[in-house]
Amino acid sequence: MMRHKFGERWGGWFALAMPKDRVDVNGKQVTITEPTLLSRIGNSIRLNKQTFEPVTLPSADVIAGVVTDRKVYRPDDLVYAFVALPYLPGEQVKLELLYLDRPLLTETLTLDKHGVALTTFEGLEIGSHTLRLTSSDGRRFGETAFEVAEFALAPLTVRLTSVRWEKERYLHLQGQVLRLDEPYSGRLKVELLTRYFGDWEPLFGTEMPCGDGTLSLRFWMRWWESQLALRVQTPDGETALVPIPFTDWRSRYEIILSEMGRIWKAQTTPKPEAKAAHGVFIWSEGRSQYVPVCLQNAVASEAIFTLQRELSHLVIVAFDSVHQRQQVHQWRNLKAGETVNVPIVKPFTLLLVGALEGDGWFEGEAVVVHPDQLSLKVQAPEQTRPGQTLTVTLKANKPCRCFLVVHDARLPYERMEQKMSEQMITALRNTPWASWRWREWREWDLWERRRFFLGRAAMVKARASAPMLAAPAEPLALYSVSPEEAVTEAPAAEPELPRGYFPEVVYCGLVDLDGEAEVNFVIGEQIGEWVVRAFAVADGDWMHTEQTLTVSKPAYLEADLPAIASEDDETLVRILYRTPQPSRIVVTTPTERVEQLVEASGELFVPFKGYGKVAGELVGVNDPSIADAFEREVTKAGVARVLSSSLHWLFAGEVLEGETVTVYPSPLHLVETLVWSLVGYPFG
């Protein structure tokens, strides 16, 4: 904001022209009959003998995101890549797939009318992959990484239900630890980790008791820089790692949107009483010194300015930096108390305000974020039995396209809405007059000094105390979800076939939603938590919602097996069970047969040598309807199943026999096949 006297004829955004001035705007003469503010945005202004070059506002970063349905795949899995650019509907974008940082292939995608697209990749090889989203002229919009590996899912699930930053120095985490579908009780090793050159490095670790699956931790943090994560491990070696939301560096920005009257601020981190709009949380805090016009609200579809004094001329330039369009609004002879309205485009509009008052003039600037106009709800059963056909209902208040994924809760995944929030806060921070700060000022010194230290963890002072007895005053809730209701037992069923359908993702796709839509799928047969998450886009708005559901049955046994093994490997595999009545368990491996009578819930260990099939069966001693069974396979390590081919040039009378023989009319027909194989080849 800047105040000028009449003698000052130009400012950052405007120039003041008086009646006797000779004025040219973009080479055209303009007659001035009364003191007038001329916008310099995109206009070259000649005022008497002085020329003012046009002021150019930079394009906002495109709000865009690319995510995959999960972060880890097996070599045979289909990889779904979802792209959202809500402000570039109908445009073409490029999605480049890199394998081990080498370009593998590029796909051109045409975004639909909502600015979304979904594509798939298959046949990927073991190793790290990156998807890079760019415009057709090479501007980089975003990227995401995923891994292809042979993997298994550990029985442990950790779910954070609340993350709070208290008094700017305590990080308070609450969550649930489940072993399959049951709350975990016992000792836990917990570690706070931070991202360091792509790896998770421990900052602090401790051992603690955990009762009934409740996790409550408080860390005293003097500073942190990168995203944090929590690693939880049972004494049996079951390990789960969960990223802690809102702990990356972007989450700590606090950006001032406007100081015209009330001071409006924005951040990506949820804040009590802040209004959520397009992925950021906006609130007002304090007032600025006298300004001639006050912005009523920084979240609005029409910005409303209230005049504090009489103005002879008011000019507001509304600049849509996403599309580089501007609209100039002006009014004459306004009285104090009057209001003026300026339409706001999505996701936000930059407003440059010029006001003539008394013997001076004023320049100010503000950013107003358009409110969300899309609401999305997902309804799914909270609990179900393995292998059931389920219906998920999606509801939205207007036509939209929805990316729906239903997956095992243990799978690591990335949130599109978090990416969009990050892009919004970056775009807001990149406005030419952006004023922003870290949430914790004192940390600047430490952060700078840290560069002179070699030790990383040594610089961090973290302390855990658990469980926390009482929350300190003024807690800041960063993240919370409603606690999961206790699983109630479903009625016992008849003896069942062995469970053998264990997909990690049971639904992934785009759903066209006009009011309400239903999606049906068969849930996997593994016991534990699942996540139903939906991300919808419509007309420049986006919305995310998710729900967990528990797959359970009264009696079960489940094995924690490695994914692959060699002949020489020998592992003690854990069999977890639960039964309402005394039951007999029989577990068969290629080399062992273990039989045991069990009650209630618990675990037993079975030696497993080499690779092969593992089968388990549980049957109630007195009630055979209490039953469960599974079949799983541990495959041989380092083995790849391939199509092996040989080419032959036959002379008359020669005979060839094979699993499949293909005869070609000419070598060129074979060339076509080879070329397509090469297209799918990762290197070269």
């Binding site: 051109t108 083995v639 036959l650 080879l674």
Partner: protein, 338 residues
């Protein structure tokens, strides 16, 4: 297809700097890589991709300025012609518009340097990244274009080159591309007569069956079979060491570092690691047992967690992205988790 090719041209820009090509984005461009890239791009020159033509002209001018002589580039510009010193040289001269005498001399060079064993013929490479498979394909193509390829040599050459395509390709892009070019340049009888699964037919489109009998000379047949290959069989063609730190005895839940040191410098070394069931790479709630990562510099460090009690062997394969001969698989590191 055009869009596909245009995206390829666009990608080539990432590897083009200072009028030359480099192997990786951001690498220092090199003369050898530039010559190879120009050789590979020659078929795409002047067919309607202006951006590509510009890059190629600039790169070629750059090489000419450095007085490079390389027969791989004679199809692009005859001024690159060099005396024959390798199978690649001779094969490329057979394709070029040169005097009949010089062409015959190149053919003779190829015939003189042909090697044969077990009914197969092959040529030793000098500069081919794709090794003997690429060199042999190039030599056969050169002979075919010069009209000097007899059916027996073609048959014996194919027996060497195309005895084991995996998932439709040879080891690398370089050798598969050479095979594609050979097949493209073969002038052979089309629509041959065969007996397929007992039925006589003239082949007008690719036909599949189980038994084929050629009813005339020159029938091209591909035989496919599904099989498993063991990537971890010991091989000693890449020198490296692998260590588990702090040691091979771990407590349940303990983290350890697997450090792989490459003792050789190759174009693009990669490490493929397979963990036993007692160890894992933790990724969220997933416990992965495989990793495939480039070795940048001399070493690669990976964090593993002791996930289950037991014992087993950590197996590491180090190989080069381009060189099928550069593969090393050690006996493995025995590890115990208690």
């Amino acid at each position: 297809m055009r869009q596909f090719l245009e995206s390829g041209v666009e990608r080539m820009r990432q590897f083009f700097a200072k009028g030359s090509f480099c192997l990786w984005t951001g690498d220092e461009p090199s003369q050898e890589v530039t010559a190879r890239v120009l050789h590979n791009l020659t078929p795409a020159y002047a067919i309607g991709f202006a951006a590509l033509d510009e890059m190629m002209k600039e790169a070629a001018a750059n090489l000419r300025q450095r007085k490079v002589r390389d027969n791989r580039l004679v199809l692009l510009d005859a001024s690159f012609q060099a005396p024959v010193a390798s199978v690649e040289d001779a094969a490329m001269l057979c394709l070029a518009e040169i005097s009949e005498t010089m062409k015959m001399s190149a053919v003779e060079w190829l015939i003189d340097h042909r090697q044969s064993t077990d009914g197969k013929v092959f040529w030793e490479p000098k500069i081919s990244w794709g090794g003997m498979l690429e060199a042999t394909s190039m030599a056969l193509r050169g002979l075919a274009k010069a009209g000097a390829l007899d059916a027996e040599t073609l048959r014996a050459g194919l027996r060497f080159v195309a005895k084991d395509l995996i998932d439709g390709r040879l080891y690398s892009t370089a050798d598969t591309k050479a095979l594609v070019e050979l097949l493209s340049d073969l002038t052979v009888p089309s629509q041959p007569l065969v007996r397929l699964d007992g039925k006589d037919m003239r082949v007008t489109q690719p036909e599949r069956g189980r038994i084929v009998e050629a009813l005339q000379d020159g029938v091209l047949v591909k035989v496919d079979e599904r099989r498993t290959i063991d990537l971890l069989q010991p091989k000693r063609h890449f020198s490296f060491t692998a260590q588990l730190q702090p040691g091979r005895q771990l407590r349940l839940g303990q983290t350890a570092k697997l450090v792989i040191y490459s003792k050789e410098r190759t174009t693009a070394p990669l490490a493929y690691v397979v963990l036993p069931g007692c160890l894992a790479f933790v990724q969220g709630g997933a416990t992965a047992q495989t990793a495939h990562q480039p070795i940048l510099g001399d070493s690669l460090e990976l964090t593993v967690v002791a996930a289950r009690r037991g014992h087993g062997i950590v197996r590491v394969m180090v190989h080069d992205m381009y060189d099928p001969e550069k593969v090393g698989v050690q006996d493995g590191i025995g590890v115990v988790v208690a």
